[in-house]
């Protein structure tokens, strides 16, 4: 496969994953704003921070109000992480690598782009926000479904999956990092209404509210949440899950006989560290530091993949 094609597939799926995460963040923020009356503004602010778009936001707006944040995250083309920017970038990459995609995958991503371009033409109001978020979620599921149902399980598939899991690991780590203070023992007024809402927010922003409740039978504690999102390999958005997938895909791409690629070595190390950990130790050693390392390692792994597989030369 061409290095450029591998890069196109990788980024196509990174952008798709990012658009889904941005939409989910917004959904969470919206829910929070409905629940919390007094400091909704700071909730919206932390949503923008989590999306990694704080600077871009402040260049255009002064206040973190619901309307500005919603439109900034959904449809602003000046925001490279907005849903529209991501879908456009995903489709553009898809167009570049079209010969590597099944018709179904291409059509799903092209249709997502056509429909969202229409829907996001005008500012989105509270009234139709829920509907649009549903549309976004459905279309990203369609692309994923087409990928799983119609693509050969070869290197093309692996690059798609790598993009997905690198982006997802990065996103989960970022969400936790912005909200980590809520999980710290010092801030835990256990059982207070506020904390419960905050924890719920974290779980919702990674689509894990229900699965968490199911696994932990309703028991909510900061450590179990952190454990769930960082170390639990059953949870499809946890760091450990993402890294186990990344290692699997890289192992396939590396091949059994070829010398170990630097990116595979890096991923294996991170994965090993995540596997042997106890969440209490992680929190004792400093959750913020741990997440900072995870974010920068994921970033470096992305660059190493790009280099090892010659995306750009």
């Amino acid at each position: 496969m061409l290095g450029r094609t591998a890069g196109g597939l990788f980024w196509m799926f990174r952008y798709l994953e990012r658009s889904e995460n941005t939409a989910r963040l917004l959904e969470t923020g919206f829910r929070m704003a409905l629940t919390v009356q007094d400091n909704a503004e700071s909730e919206w602010e932390s949503i923008v921070t989590t999306a990694g778009a704080r600077e871009e936001f402040l260049e255009k707006y002064e206040d973190f109000d619901q309307a500005s944040v919603t439109n900034f995250l959904l449809r602003d083309r000046d925001n490279p992480s907005s849903v529209m920017s991501c879908i456009e970038a995903a489709r553009s990459n898809g167009r570049m690598v079209r010969t590597a995609l099944s018709t179904e995958v291409w059509e799903a991503v092209n249709e997502a782009w056509m429909i969202l371009k229409e829907e996001l033409k005008r500012p989105v109001s509270v009234k139709n926000l829920a509907e649009i978020l549903t549309t976004i979620r459905q279309h990203s599921s369609l692309v994923r479904g087409a990928l799983h149902g119609t693509m050969l399980r070869n290197d093309i598939f692996d690059f798609c999956r790598l993009g997905t899991f690198i982006e997802r690991a990065d996103n989960t780590a970022r969400i936790l990092d912005v909200k980590y203070y809520v999980l710290l023992p010092s801030a835990a007024h256990v059982g207070s209404r506020m904390d419960n809402i905050q924890w719920e927010t974290i779980l919702r922003s990674v689509s894990a509210f229900r699965s968490y409740r199911w696994l932990h039978e309703g028991e909510v504690s900061p450590n179990t949440i952190a454990d769930f999102l960082i170390l639990d390999r059953r949870m499809p958005r946890s760091l450990a899950f993402c890294y186990s997938k990344i290692v699997g895909n890289l192992n396939y791409l590396n091949g059994p006989d070829a010398p170990e690629l630097p990116c595979l070595r890096m991923a294996t190390q991170t994965h090993a560290r995540l596997s042997g950990r106890n969440i209490d130790r992680v929190i004792d050693d400093g959750l913020h530091e741990f997440l900072k390392v995870a974010i920068s390692e994921t970033g470096r792994l992305g660059s190493q993949i790009q280099e090892d597989f010659r995306f750009y030369g």
């Binding site: 290095g3 553009s92 010969t99 010659r310």
Partner: protein, 475 residues
């Protein structure tokens, strides 16, 4: 509803269907026009969803546009097609023989049949190609001969398109669309399939590969300028259908005397490049030193016989408009036969007598730029205003060498589906021709372009033209 000045391919003056259309006309009369119109709109949704679009330069708003598709097929009888086939094959063989001659001994100039200045002062003639024979001896691997019809048995060649003819993806997708929308028609009529084109393309390109490739079969790649090119859809479509690599210049590099592509596992050699870029963008070392595009050194590999480039660099000289008027001579010179297909009479404005004639009759002529394409920069005399005629006259006088003129041909019409029912519109036809060593293959069909505006003679998609599926009937 037929205009007697023009030959309508479906209906005679009396309003009866011509023989090739009789079965279709019978079917059509039994259909509900409202339902057909609805199907016509469905076709558009279908094209958008699969992304068959073309990019329009200089229009930011509508960067990706659809070429409108009309659901009424253009039907060609078996007998008519046999005539076209013979004529096209003859012409394409002559073009290749001409190119081989013009880059070697130049017998045609020595014989006095072609003035030397036509070649020597022409940018389309590439000195880099002199004395060089491409692998397999083929220059124009892919040709799209533009034909127009003016009567029952009157066909003219308008252009030879020997560089990188586009539009074949429309031929294929239009047929797919028609098969989906009107399967019953294909059971009633014997329409010859066109779907074999990509496999045939791959086969004929492979047959032209340099002999020294190191795999079981040669590696073929389609070279595209990238996703912003107006024909990008077609490039990816053809690569996909042929099972070939789709590469950009940035993926390629000359390594160990071969053109190689950067894969995730290192550089891998390529044997045949079907390039959809202009000569100028092939090799910055040979052609355009200022260009950042292209593959430095690819021409050295080419000259060493280690890569096939289709079409060969320098084939543009064969379809240059300055040369067009000599085509009947060229065909006769190389085949020893009279040309089967007619050439449109052409006045070369570089010749003073012709220039005067053209200026005196501007309102009746079509004037084209010698190096232009895509319908840009041309004048359709009968459709132009006084002011436009005067302005164009001034341009002509200032740079006569830059123009040729032709009579306005009475292009045939084929009906299109409109809200008011069938309405005749002017069409042309571009069949696709593949050339392999010792073999010419013509796909039975082609791209029918149709001027959607009533009375318009300009069929180019960049000027508001649409397309139709083209049906060649079996015996």
């Amino acid at each position: 509803m037929t205009d007697n000045r023009f030959f309508d391919e479906m209906l005679t003056g009396a309003g009866d269907a011509r023989v090739p259309y009789s079965e279709y006309a019978k079917w059509f009369s039994g259909e509900d026009p409202k339902v057909l119109l609805k199907k016509s709109n469905e076709a558009e949704t279908f094209f958008r969803r699969i992304g068959i679009t073309f990019n329009v330069y200089g229009q930011k708003e509508a960067q990706e546009r659809l070429i409108p598709f009309d659901i009424v097929p253009r039907i060609i009888a078996a007998r008519e097609w046999r005539l076209l086939e013979k004529g096209i094959e003859q012409r394409v063989r002559a073009l290749n023989a001409f190119l081989a001659d013009i880059y070697h001994r130049q017998e045609i100039i020595k014989s006095g049949r072609l003035p030397e200045h036509i070649i020597s002062r022409n940018d389309a003639f590439l000195p880099q190609m002199v004395g060089m024979t491409p692998p397999g001896g083929v220059y124009t691997h892919i040709v799209g001969t533009d034909l127009v019809r003016t009567g029952e048995n009157e066909f003219y060649v308008l252009e030879d398109n020997a560089r990188t003819p586009s539009g074949v993806s429309y031929m294929l997708e239009n047929r797919e669309t028609m098969l989906q929308m009107f399967p019953e028609l294909f059971t009633k009529m014997k329409v010859r399939p066109v779907s074999g084109y990509p496999a045939e393309l791959r086969r004929s390109l492979s047959e032209c590969a340099p002999p020294n490739f190191d795999r079981a079969k040669p590696r073929v790649a389609v070279l595209t300028p990238g996703i912003h090119n107006s024909a990008y859809f077609e490039h990816s479509f053809l690569a996909d259908q042929m099972g070939a690599e789709l590469v950009e210049a940035g993926d390629l590099r000359v390594v160990d005397g071969k053109v190689q592509m950067r894969t995730t596992m290192g550089y891998k050699p390529i044997d045949v490049i079907y390039r959809r870029v202009d000569d100028d963008f092939l090799d910055p070392l040979s052609f355009n030193p200022d260009s950042m595009l292209g593959v430095p050194g690819i021409m050295d590999v080419y000259r060493a016989g280690n890569i096939t480039i289709a079409n060969a660099p320098g084939t543009g000289i064969a379809d240059d408009k300055a040369l067009y008027s000599y085509m009947p001579d060229i065909v006769e010179f190389y085949t020893g036969e009279k040309a089967i297909l007619k050439n449109v009479p052409t006045w070369r404005c570089s010749e003073p007598d012709s220039l005067q004639y053209v200026l005196d009759n501007l309102n009746e002529l079509v004037v084209k730029e010698v190096h232009g394409s895509g319908g840009y920069g041309m004048l359709v005399g009968p459709a132009a205003s006084k002011k436009e005629l005067a302005e164009f006259g001034a341009k002509l006088r200032a740079k006569p060498d830059n123009y040729v003129a032709q009579p306005t041909l009475a292009l045939s019409t084929v009906p299109i589906m409109t809200k008011k029912g069938l309405a005749p519109r002017h069409v042309d036809l571009r069949p696709y021709v593949l050339v392999a060593p010792g073999r010419v293959h013509i796909t039975p069909g082609g791209l029918t372009r149709v001027a959607l505006k009533e009375g318009s003679l300009v069929v180019n998609s960049s000027q508001g033209g649409g397309t139709k599926d083209t049906w060649v009937l079996g015996d």
